[in-house]
Subunit: 135 residues, 2 copies
Amino acid sequence: MTKMQKEYNLSKNQQIVFDIIEKSNEPVKAYSILFNVKKKGIKAPPQVYRALEKLIKLGKIHKVESKNAFVACKSSNCEISKATAFSICEICEKVTEIANNKLSNFLNSFEDKSGMKYKKYNLEFFGLCKKCKKS
Amino acid sequence: MTKMQKEYNLSKNQQIVFDIIEKSNEPVKAYSILFNVKKKGIKAPPQVYRALEKLIKLGKIHKVESKNAFVACKSSNCEISKATAFSICEICEKVTEIANNKLSNFLNSFEDKSGMKYKKYNLEFFGLCKKCKKS
DNA sequence: TAACAGTATGTAATAATATAACATTTGAAA
DNA sequence: TTTCAAATGTTATATTATTACATACTGTTA
């Protein structure tokens, strides 16, 4: 398959911020990013928040609203994503993006009597992960 | 039907905060509450945040995470609620709690291969409400 | 009643998260 | 090479939320 969709070129700051988030195995907070990129010349909150905003628009990362933290998108190979679902363990706080067709199909086609057309959603499930259930 | 479950008695501050939220037809922010209750003797953030926390535990209000704002629970007649869904208009910002059995049944029984047991969820749909679709 | 436990309150200080505003620079396209 | 959108740098400030500690209220039970 040829490269139909040209990979968007991230700017310098966007790439720096994205790298931090992608390397982490847990959601990363904005000020934790800021702290970690001081050595790379990013010194002020707006620089981080602007990169985050752009990365979200591009679908490269998502915000986990209940945690005010950011994760790299793993489910959609970086297409622009409007539909996100996460599972969050209430003990160890592990956050995992849920990739489940039954779920996304259901939610993408959900309609209710309000007459509202839903284009986008964010779902956060809370519970106990396998490990924490045992202990 | 007799009153099986005794109505929980809200404390003074809890009642004051709840009244503000309940009377509002839109989500209310913590500092907006704080401003509005100064005349009633509530002077400091922790007083408001403590009341909010308790009201959430009781299921009397919910937090709309994407807005950092609070709404009164309308769907469950104040049972303790672990499952919340909202629709949010991207133009007029109107927030409505969704009460839809098909949706809640689906989500309450949702399981995926992760082995995680979900006890609780929060879902936020974004789109255009009827009014804003027309304009 | 006195002792207690649990819940709620009051208060000051500060931490954590996010944006406004403005000047400047960069990069790609016409 | 001008032009325009996007990105950057910087200072200041706005907004959201918590810590820490002292005190008071409420109901239970020894």
